[in-house]
Symmetry: C2
Subunit: 308 residues, 2 copies
């Protein structure tokens, strides 16, 4: 095999109450990444998208992860990488994770799969950490494993892959910028024990709902009493957008990652389509441009599209 | 039916990371409660145990719950209740919940089951609240429903019954007194967000481990970074007892409820027996008398033993 093309999915992280511990791969949007062997050391990165990302491999997320992989394997040759990003950087939909995870899964496949999924997550984290300034794997892990993923212990890389619940997702990405580092800075250092208990009760409800595919239980558990009240202030119209989505039949939802994208779950595709439209209308009335997706959880992570 | 005899199980609550949200019914110890119809209003309570509990029905946990049931149903006659308690009051094993839950389930059965399990939990909570001074249902709900129970929202009485994991339990009850109210007072009002995230990650691991019967995942998730470090100081020798249990092969465990009983999970009965002995030996060396049980999670809550 000389060359391989993969799709690398966007991911929702946090999922309301599951701050820093839950992520879910989605069917759309996704990036396309082609990795080819070259007969010389080094990495070349080429972007065929319009996001103006650096192509210097030391400054490119995919480049950094791939370089870490070359070091880990003591690989003597190199790779040419072509990335067609469709997940906009800074959307809160795991754009950097998709670059980092996509390139290492593709290169691993190209080399006959010498690495475990734990290795791949660790390597993808190298690029992700450069991009976000923190080592959270709630995008990288579901991007690689697919499904809904629980990060039980990030230091020990203890990740638990759960099946996806049978639901539909509306994602709306308002075109505003929220810096991940700022979205983290504004969080409280301490929280009331009482609220924490309520949060972990909802985490318990959400995870048991996912394990048992109990959509009503998931619906009741999509509550975030700690992070959302703080971060939602960074998104103009958040409360109205959410309320309109619920009024249109959504089960619940909130901010994806540190935002600005918002996601809502619905029981069927028709409802999810209406919900996305309602959300988009609120943003448009506030003169905030946005892009929306109606999609589903993806049971697959990075997928091989073709190889030669 | 004139008379009914039920067994009402002890319950472990909290289960390490699941403070105030998780409880599990156990096969032993359990109380025996007999409820008989009388042809006149009122409730008589008789205890055939040695714990010296009040037999005045307005001061007895079972009496208070049964009176609430009579009011709810507008029942014109009364009941004679005979209680043989085996779960020592103040053990942290849900003794008051067993009285409250046992009597209402028995009386409901005697009257042809007019009430839902939610009604029964609410009624049992009346007695439990008098006993503990707070309205937590993490003992009452598993005592009635059996299994492992998640309290997603106690105000809304949203309880989720999970299956039991396939494991064995060592319970050791050191004969010291810890007041529930004091065990609650010493808890911090605020906790670091970082620790809270770690706690809800473990809640997620524990619950997904229970749902998937993944004992290794349960083992890794039996971690409490918030409550145990504070409450364990109330139990002499706690750290050594726990360490000895782990050394003897236990998966993990901690304080049951607000203590003083400690529980440990093991993968097989032989290990659970050794673990209980090791734990007991530490307490005995410290001149703390104790009582121990080697048992299993119970899939049944209050059970009818005989009726006539």
């Amino acid at each position: 095999m000389q060359s391989i093309k993969v799709s690398s999915p966007g991911t929702l992280s946090n999922l309301c109450c599951g701050f820093d511990i839950l992520g879910m791969a989605v069917e759309a949007p996704f990036d396309i990444i082609q990795v080819s062997k070259r007969n010389a050391p080094g990495i070349s990165i080429k972007h065929i998208d319009t996001f103006g990302l650096p192509e210097d491999s030391a400054k490119n997320i995919a480049g950094v992860s791939l370089m870490a992989m070359i070091d880990m394997l003591d690989y003597k040759e190199g790779f040419d990488v072509v990335i067609e990003k469709k997940i906009k950087p800074g959307s809160g939909l795991g754009s950097s994770a998709a670059s980092a995870a996509g390139v290492v899964v593709a290169a691993n496949e190209l080399l006959g799969n010498p690495l475990s999924y734990k290795d791949l997550i660790a390597l993808a984290m190298e690029g992700e950490a450069m991009a976000s300034g923190s080592r959270h794997m709630d995008n990288v892990a579901p991007c690689i494993l697919g499904g809904t993923v629980l990060i039980r212990d990030s230091a020990q890389m203890d990740v638990v892959r759960l099946n996806n619940p049978d639901l539909h997702i509306s994602i709306v990405h308002p075109q505003i910028e929220i810096k991940t580092s700022y979205a983290r800075e504004i969080l409280p250092v301490d929280i009331p024990l009482k609220k924490a208990v309520s949060q972990w009760a909802n985490v318990g409800g959400l995870i048991s709902g996912i394990c048992m595919n109990d959509l009503k239980l998931i619906e009741r558990s999509l509550v975030d009493v700690i992070i959302e009240p703080v971060r939602s202030k960074l998104i103009p119209g958040f409360n109205e957008v959410k309320q309109r989505a619920l009024d249109a039949g959504a089960m619940g939802g909130g901010i994806s990652g540190s935002g600005p994208s918002m996601f809502m779950f619905s029981q069927d595709e028709h409802t999810a389509t209406c919900v996305a439209k309602e959300m988009q209308m609120v943003f448009e009335r506030l003169n905030v441009e946005c892009k929306s997706y109606v999609t589903k959880p993806s049971s697959m992570g990075v997928q091989v599209l073709e190889s030669k």
